[in-house]
């Protein structure tokens, strides 16, 4: 147990660096999960998100998905509304992103109860608990009747991997390393140069599967029907790669695929210009004496 605790800390610290660790989901308090369904109009996917508290808000669920799956998102109106999700729309919208006639991200709740409910309140104030299924769909229409809903999702189907894995973590006897310690970290092919793709691979392989046999079993048991998961961009399996589970995030939906995380070139230009102009100003101020 102590070894596992130390490893947890190491994973969490490692998770602070952008190396593709999906550490927090293995080490946060286990048990509470919610499902986040995202439909951007051309593709849809569902994510099983581990909650870090018994109750979180709809926006916090998206933030957690961002931590665990590198889901791209951007909030507007002072962090109260979803303006961009999974890189849709492709150009970063302004902070006040709702405009009459333009498509937007509609918020749906209770996807596990047979039909979606159009949320009457914003996602900053809703309560999401263990077992909830939340949905977001990009389209036009200001009400539940006119806005296209995302595909319905079953909580147990989407979260089967996670719940089974956690059960596995509790099983191994002391002295024997748990599955996540034994699993060799699959190297993202091509490293950082491949950008989002490589990082995404690391994420996906690091995510629920914890060993080749396990992932195969899980896949057979709980793989959802292809009609539920639309993933036209699934990558081809490379030789030497361990068989990964059903990819949960289509390529292009991660924040790594969006604007680069490192300091932008324009930012460097701006800093240089600022310093240069300030320097000239300082020179002029010390050179001339006002008469």
């Amino acid at each position: 147990m102590k070894r596992r605790g130390l490893f947890c800390v190491a994973l969490l610290v490692g998770g602070l660096f952008p190396t593709g660790f999906a550490a927090p989901s293995a080490c946060a308090s286990e048990g509470d999960h919610a499902v986040l369904v995202i439909d951007d109009g051309s593709s849809d996917f569902a994510l099983c998100v581990q909650l870090n508290a018994p109750v979180v808000s709809g926006l916090e669920l998206i933030e957690l998905a961002g931590d665990q799956y590198d889901l791209q998102y951007r909030f507007g109106y002072g962090g109260r509304a979803v303006c961009q999700l999974a890189n849709v729309p492709t150009t970063p919208p302004p902070d006040e992103c709702f405009e009459q006639g333009k498509p937007f991200w509609g918020y749906w709740r209770d996807g596990d109860s047979g039909d979606w409910t159009w949320s009457g309140t914003g996602a900053a104030t809703t309560e999401v608990r263990d077992g909830d299924v939340e949905g977001w769909s990009f389209g036009e229409g200001n009400s539940g009747e006119t806005h296209p809903p995302p595909p319905l999702e079953d909580f147990d189907a989407a979260c089967a991997d996670h719940l089974a894995t956690e059960k596995q973590d509790e099983d191994p006897p002391d002295g024997q390393p748990g599955p996540d310690e034994e699993r060799p970290e699959p190297d993202p092919t091509g490293g950082a140069e491949e950008g989002g793709r490589g990082r995404e691979q690391g994420d996906r392989s690091a995510e629920p599967a914890h060993g080749p046999e396990l992932s195969d079993e899980r896949r057979l048991d709980s793989a959802p029907e292809p009609s539920e998961f639309d993933d036209p961009l699934a990558r081809p399996v490379e030789p030497g790669d361990e068989p990964s589970p059903q990819p949960s995030l289509p390529a292009g939906a991660t924040s790594a695929d969006a604007e680069p995380q490192e300091f932008p070139a324009a930012g460097i230009l701006a800093i240089v210009a600022t310093i240069a102009m300030a320097g000239v100003a300082a020179y002029l101020l010390t050179k001339r004496k006002s008469t």
């Binding site: 951007r74 909030f75 507007g76 970063p92 490192e262 324009a266 701006a270 102009m277």
Partner: protein, 259 residues
């Protein structure tokens, strides 16, 4: 340089400042304001006046950031408030630069005859900053001569009344003297007309180009003009927009022409 050119420059720079909260555009814009002040300030109370604008800008930034405590406090919320405060501070610095490079009474001569009185009022309003600073200086000196020595902050109440009084008196005196010199409604002098020099053309041209580039950026959602701090990220900026901001520093580099 013709005050109309400075007015156009200020208008363009202000619109650029208002359009964005991206620090990679706002910080160079602030440097532009300081550079223009340093290069083209006119003798008089410019130094103290510009410094006052910077102070007020700083207070605006701090106040705007402090307002976060009235909502949900988080790093993202604080940074969002800082960026909005920065926009205010930069706007004030642009106006401060305008104030330090122009003589407000020359603005008055731009007004058509029909608008002379409101223009006069506007000119007096424009000049209130440098005039107040001058008044403070004079009152302070008078206090020192009388042997009143109080520390800077504690002497503030003793300063306010004389400065306000002086301001009132001065406004009346100014109006009377301007009237006597022929700035009144009745006459318009063609003596020493202000010429629109090539420096003015270049300044206005560069400012309009800068504004045009930002207008295009706004229309096409280029270069992350409005930055969301949810989640925290380095704003992906457009180098073209940074260059547009630097264009606004052109008036600091054109050769001065006596006009």
């Amino acid at each position: 340089m013709h005050p109309g050119a400075w007015l156009a420059w200020t208008l363009c720079a202000s619109l650029v400042a208002i359009s964005t909260t991206n620090p990679f555009y706002l910080l160079p814009l602030f440097a532009v304001a300081v550079l223009v002040y340093a290069a083209r300030r006119i003798p008089g109370p410019s130094v103290a006046s510009f410094r006052m604008f910077l102070w007020v800008g700083g207070i605006a930034l701090v106040t705007r950031t402090f307002l976060v405590v009235f909502g949900s406090v988080s790093t993202e919320a604080i940074l969002a408030a800082v960026l909005e405060g920065l926009r205010l501070a930069v706007l004030l610095s642009i106006y401060g630069a305008l104030n330090s490079v122009t003589d407000p009474y020359r603005f008055l001569r731009l007004a058509p005859r029909r608008f002379h009185e409101p223009a006069l009022a506007a000119t007096l309003a424009l000049s209130i900053a440098p005039r107040t600073v001058e008044a403070v200086g004079r009152v302070r000196e008078a206090q020192r001569l009388r042997g009143i020595q109080i520390s800077r902050w504690r002497s503030f109440p003793a300063l306010v009344v004389p400065v306000l009084e002086t301001g009132m008196e001065e406004a009346v005196t100014l109006a009377e003297s301007m009237d006597a010199r022929g700035h009144g409604r009745g006459s318009r002098s063609r003596y020493r007309p202000q010429r629109w020099s090539s420096a003015a053309w270049v300044t206005v041209g560069a400012a309009l180009v800068a504004l045009g580039i930002f207008g295009w950026g706004m229309a096409r959602s280029v270069g992350e003009l409005s930055v969301s701090t949810y989640p925290l990220h380095w704003p992906s900026s457009s180098p073209l927009l940074v260059v547009a901001v630097v264009l606004l520093s052109v008036p600091a580099f054109v050769p001065e022409k006596a006009s």
